[in-house]
């Protein structure tokens, strides 16, 4: 009778004597002593075969709007490339080069820091928006030293940094097209001779409004500062890798800026594909017993995403080679395209490893790459970038494959233990 009650209530036999006792007490009113004795009696038979437990597959990550993001970045790159002439007129070619060499690493450092601490969390933007003093101090901390130290060049660098950081926040909030539209709308007045200071300042304010308007509910806790600072170091190292090759002319003309477009678009695509990797890692463990080896789906996903990123980057680079006018040697153009493509892969892999909480290794590898790039005497323009980025790519691919080849270890020891 007791066994029937337990089976009827649970829809299965009891797991152990305690479960049987609890059911008997809760649904028959048996006093605890009798329920425990009956529970023990119910379990006294021959041990059953072990039940095979299979956990529910993890929820699929919400797909990112890759096409929109890619289109927005494309529009933004083309538009910013078009600003080369008015900005060169304002601060000179070398001034613009210097401004970009400062703005790009700084932008990447700030974007990676913000992403780790705020943007990668639901409600993170709202949490950031709720700290206007921090935002104002950050902007002032960027603008004042830049203007004091480098005058107009510093001011351009600071404004571009603020603009691109605002763009990243807007894109993360699902407003990439709004950012692209703002940048595109600012281009005609700039080309028509409007004051670049006025246009850039207005654009920064518009993008800030886009990034922080109607922020919604906040997250409980932002990410840890130590991890955010490590992410910032990764961003800065990527930026230095990008601009560290002195043999590349760096945006004397719009065409040079456009060379970044293939790798940016390919990286946006690759980032979207790798977005699914954490879910794929835990998904690979579903139904796998303790002594068994999980399948290779995460490794296949990683290598497939990297392969497709390379293919897209290659195709777009070939297109760019045909379409983009280039004043200096074609070798430099092809080397730049190759270097940027490799850098795109480095960014992708660094982002993946940071998400798997292996930021320390990434910083180490990027440090090696930057050192190589800065120390090497390039045999042709762009060779230093290629050498640094290729070294980082190889080392980071090895680290990423090693991480995803053991999905159980990656999930248990890093993804789920912060």
């Amino acid at each position: 009778m007791s066994a029937d009650v337990v089976r009827a209530r649970l829809g299965r036999p009891a797991q152990d004597m305690l479960e049987a006792a609890v059911v008997l007490e809760a649904w028959t009113g048996a006093p605890p002593g009798r329920a425990l004795a009956d529970g023990r009696r119910l379990m006294s038979g021959r041990p059953a075969l072990p039940e095979v437990s299979v956990s529910a597959p993890p929820a699929a990550a919400k797909p990112r709007r890759k096409a929109l993001e890619a289109a927005a970045f494309g529009v933004a790159v083309v538009a910013v490339a078009a600003w080369a002439r008015p900005l060169r007129d304002l601060i000179g070619a070398s001034g613009l080069r210097d401004a970009l060499r400062v703005a790009l690493p700084l932008t990447l450092a700030v974007q990676w820091t913000l992403s780790s601490r705020y943007l990668s969390r639901p409600g993170g933007v709202a949490t950031l928006a709720a700290r206007p003093a921090l935002l104002a101090a950050g902007a002032a901390g960027l603008l004042i030293p830049a203007i004091a130290g480098a005058g107009a060049v510093g001011a351009v660098a600071a404004l571009l940094t603020l603009l691109w950081c605002g763009g990243a926040i807007a894109a993360r909030r699902g407003r990439p097209m709004g950012f692209a539209a703002a940048v595109a709308l600012a281009t005609p007045p700039l080309l028509a001779g409007a004051s670049p200071w006025l246009v850039l300042s207005a654009l920064v304010l518009a993008v800030a409004a886009l990034a922080f308007a109607a922020p919604g509910p906040r997250c409980l806790h932002p990410g840890r500062w130590d991890r955010a600072l490590l992410a910032g170091l990764i961003g800065a190292a990527l930026g230095v890798l990008l601009v560290g090759d002195a043999s590349l002319p760096w945006v004397a003309t719009p065409g040079e800026a456009l060379l970044l477009a293939p790798s940016i678009l390919a990286t946006v695509y690759g980032g979207g594909a790798l977005w699914r990797l954490p879910a794929a890692l835990s998904g690979a463990l579903v139904g796998v017993r303790l002594h068994e080896r999980p399948g290779r789906a995460p490794t296949r996903l990683l290598l497939g995403a990297l392969g497709r990123t390379v293919a897209i980057s290659l195709a777009l680079s070939l297109l760019c080679r045909e379409l983009v006018p280039w004043p200096s040697s074609p070798v430099a153009r092809e080397a730049a395209l190759c270097g940027f493509a490799l850098l795109g892969l480095v960014t992708l892999l660094a982002s993946l490893l940071e998400a798997l909480d292996r930021g320390g290794r990434v910083v180490l590898v990027l440090g090696c790459g930057v050192a190589l790039e800065l120390l090497i005497r390039p045999p042709f323009p762009g060779a230093a970038l290629i050498a640094g980025a290729a070294t980082c790519t190889l080392l980071l691919i090895a680290a990423a494959v090693a991480a995803v080849a053991r999905p159980a270890t990656a999930v248990a020891t890093h993804l789920w233990i912060g």
Binding site: P32, P47, S53, V54, S55, H221, L285, L290, P294
Partner: protein
């Protein structure tokens, strides 16, 4: 050697989990009563909570202070301290907590190592060696064959990793430093007992454990009704069992709120000499008012599977067939996280066609007032300790119809009707018999009012805790185990 003088006002560390001072509820009300009523003690409240940004719901009096909560499942890093080699920690915890015959002293030893080397905890759980050793130990646990323990299921790696993460948070909880006090008071045999058990092992401070429900029984009920996979169910219940056994082993006194809970506790292996039942109490109510005589049946409690609201609704439908003039009012909110159950209750209400004859009234801040407006008070729970709703009913001299679970029969004796749980027919018959016989109902109500004064007086409850905690502070409980010498002050 200098001897430390005990402070004039003994200090008590009250550890809570998911209750006081951040959540409203029975345990929180009890904590609030105790803290407010015993100003001769200096209270330090250590809450264990999931991350949230809610302010405390209770203001603590001047003789108490709330310590920074222990946040589990948060991003925060462990406290600073030494970083030793604890790579065998995950394996030690899974053996100690999940084996059917796991050793509570081995668990406490592992927790002490966490306290000594707080930074080593994260390092151990993030190491491949820690994970590999854990998998080996878990495989041993799953290979156990003890007849009464049933056959453990074969967990998959997701379930194994989830359990690993939970053990990490248990270790993190053990690693949190606790202040210097004379008495430890844990409010459940689960997570809240962890810091107390570690502190006791370090300093020999006496540990009092109050169980309102029975943590283990409630964990089993939650797992049984949750529809989780066999692996998750096994991990949750075995972990609860491991925590409970460790808490019972470490406690110097266990104070259940009803002798029914004491039977569970001793049945789970607790030394009967440690048990001291202290029933909850209620302030003496003024002279009761007569019932309205309108056939109104009131129930007070959260909308939660443990309250078995489905049976309540079916019992209401059956009662309305017998007494068409009856009408029901249920006061209480849906338990956070049980929204699906809440919707199922609304659906069943609709299916049964109860309409306005059964109304969900939402939360109430005046349980005595709503009970005063009843002719009969109803309770259909499948798990209870000592329900305050029944004491409220007795305070207002209202007869009770309730299910015979936990401490309910002990409370309701002579002042209501107790029926088996989940028996809607029996509930309906009991309700109908009281509605049709108001004189009997009134007599039971009066008996309840008198019984409340005799057995469940709030002042008596507070006095008994005062005595217990004073005895503990003065070292008059059973001799505690000698403290362990550790180089780090906890």
């Amino acid at each position: 050697m200098l001897e430390r003088c005990p402070p004039a006002r003994p200090r008590v560390l009250l550890t809570t989990e998911g209750t006081y001072p951040y959540e409203i509820g029975g345990v929180s009300s009890w904590c609030d009563l105790l803290v407010r009523s015993l100003p001769e003690l200096e209270w330090q409240v250590l809450p264990i909570v999931a991350p949230h940004d809610r302010p405390p719901r209770y203001a603590v009096p001047p003789h108490a202070r709330v310590l920074p909560p222990i946040e589990i499942w948060s991003d925060r890093r462990p406290a600073r301290g030494r970083r030793g080699d604890l790579r065998d920690l995950p394996a030690a915890l899974v053996r100690g907590l999940l084996r059917w015959d796991g050793s509570p002293s081995a668990v406490v030893d592992a927790w002490l190592r966490c306290r000594r080397d707080p930074r080593g905890v994260r390092r151990a759980f993030r190491s491949r060696a820690g994970w590999d050793a854990y998998r080996g130990a878990l495989a041993e646990v799953l290979a156990e064959r003890v007849p009464e323990a049933g056959t453990p299921p074969l967990l998959d790696l997701v379930e194994a990793a989830e359990l690993y993460q939970t053990l990490y948070w248990i270790a993190r909880t053990a690693a949190v430093p606790t202040p210097d006090v004379e008495v430890l008071h844990a409010t459940a045999a689960g997570w809240s007992a962890i810091p107390a058990a570690v502190h006791r092992a370090l300093h020999g401070t006496p540990l009092v454990l109050t169980e309102h429900g029975v943590f283990l029984r409630e964990s089993y009920l939650a797992a049984a009704r949750g529809g989780a996979s066999p692996g998750r169910r096994f991990a949750a219940t075995r972990l609860a069992r491991g925590l409970t056994r460790t808490a019972y082993a470490c406690a110097d006194v266990v104070a259940p709120v009803t002798s029914a809970n004491a039977h569970w506790e001793t049945g789970l292996g607790l030394d009967p000499d440690k048990v001291r039942v202290i029933t909850n109490g209620l302030l003496q109510a003024p002279a009761p008012t007569p019932p309205p005589g309108t056939g109104r049946i009131v129930s007070v409690g959260r909308i939660d599977p443990l309250k078995d609201v489905h049976t309540m609704l079916r019992a209401a439908a059956a009662t309305l067939q017998l007494v068409p003039a009856a009408h029901f009012a249920h006061y209480g909110p849906v338990t956070p996280g049980e929204e699906t159950y809440g919707r199922s209750c609304e659906l069943l209400h609709e299916q049964l066609g109860l309409g306005s004859r059964f109304r969900f009234m939402g939360a109430t801040t005046d349980p005595a007032g709503v009970v005063r407006g009843a002719d009969v008070v109803l309770l259909t729970s499948i798990s209870e300790g000592l329900p305050m709703a029944l004491l409220e009913a007795m305070g207002e001299a209202r007869p009770i119809v309730a299910t015979s679970v936990g401490g309910v029969p002990e409370v309701v004796r002579g002042c209501g009707i107790v029926v088996p749980p989940a028996d809607e027919r029996a509930l309906a018959l009991a309700l109908a018999s009281l509605l049709r016989n108001p004189e009997r109902a009134a007599r039971l109500g009066r008996q309840g009012h008198a019984r409340l004064a005799r057995r469940f007086d709030q002042a008596d409850c507070v006095d008994r805790y005062r005595d217990l905690l004073r005895d503990a502070a003065a070292g008059r409980l059973r001799a505690p185990a000698p403290p362990r010498e550790l180089p780090v002050a906890a």
